[in-house]
């Protein structure tokens, strides 16, 4: 089985990289980009039977820093 983990900065945490991307899109002429938030996608190849709860522990312990980041798990 596979799982995909999306890690994003929490709402309210300033994302300087997203801001830089937003500026760059503006200078390319793409008007109306009001906000950009940049995150990470992590794909996991897992042994069959691995539970979503285990993936959640992986996120809590390592994949996300929950001080500043939130995560979402998608089991594929």
């Amino acid at each position: 089985m596979k799982a995909r983990v999306y890690v994003m900065l929490k709402n309210g945490v300033l994302d300087p990289q997203g801001e830089a991307v937003r500026h760059a899109l503006g200078s390319l002429g793409f008007d109306g980009v009001e906000g950009v938030r940049q995150g990470k996608v992590i794909e996991l190849d897992l042994a069959d039977g691995t539970t979503e709860a285990t993936v959640e522990q992986m996120c809590e312990k390592l994949l996300a820093n929950t001080v500043i980041e939130s995560y979402r798990i998608e089991v594929l």
Binding site: L14, P16, L62, L63, N65, V67
Partner: protein, 222 residues
């Protein structure tokens, strides 16, 4: 004082840290990230700067899960002293020994220069060697030194006088100009600037000596 300096793959300030501690009179041993135990009777563990594990995933995240980091956490939980500088600060926040997190600099640039810092509290073994109101100059060299903490956490560390150093001119966007922060028991210090790179005239300044000497004096009198 017996000190141990942790070495991760990618650490690059480990030897500078050892030299600074030895110059202040400490007995220093180096410990490798795969070691699960520390030498006996260690008073202080220093977690040095660098780019442990290539800064993969997040700065300090992989290092924080290494066997030696578990020993560092156990040492801190026993009331032992821990100093984390630069990447070491990032590692300590990732272990949860210190609050907050270090994010990408607000200007997105790697910053490498000397900065002035205000010593904010003398109430710790790390800062007892300074005088009230001291402004010191230490080098910074980081890409991810933008200290972030939620409003509640900030209120708590300010109320508990746990901000050890503040930037005079904030180089990286850190909340409340915070450059260094103490644990609740005041025995764990994490800071982005490098005191160990300011201990010799050849470094261009010796403001860092007071931190190491102060630490040794505190240990001697304890």
């Amino acid at each position: 004082m017996r000190a141990a300096v942790v070495v991760f793959p990618g650490s690059n300030c480990d030897r500078d840290m050892a030299v600074a501690l030895k110059a202040a009179g400490a007995d220093v041993s180096m410990v490798w990230h795969k070691d699960a135990t520390l030498p006996d009777n260690i008073d202080l563990i220093a977690v040095p700067g660098g780019f442990s594990f290539g800064d993969y995933l997040r700065c300090g995240a992989i290092a924080a899960q290494s066997p030696i980091s578990k020993a560092v956490v156990a040492h801190a939980n026993r009331g032992g002293y821990v100093l984390g500088v630069c990447n070491g600060f990032q590692v300590l926040t990732e272990t949860g020994l210190l609050p907050g997190a270090l994010m990408r600099n607000s200007n997105l640039k790697f910053i490498c220069k000397s900065v002035d810092l205000k010593v904010e509290t003398l109430n710790s073994a790390f800062t007892a060697g300074y005088s009230a109101g001291d402004v010191v100059s230490y080098p910074v060299a980081h890409h991810d030194g933008n200290y972030s903490i939620d409003a509640e956490g900030l209120k708590q560390i300010e109320a508990e006088d746990r901000v050890a150093f503040r930037y005079v001119e904030n180089p990286n966007g850190s909340v409340a100009d915070i450059a260094g922060v103490l644990s609740e028991n005041r025995r764990v210090l994490g800071m982005m600037p490098h005191p160990e790179r300011a201990v010799d005239q050849g470094h261009g300044g010796t403001d860092g000596q007071a931190l190491f000497r102060g630490l040794l004096d505190q240990m001697a009198s304890a």
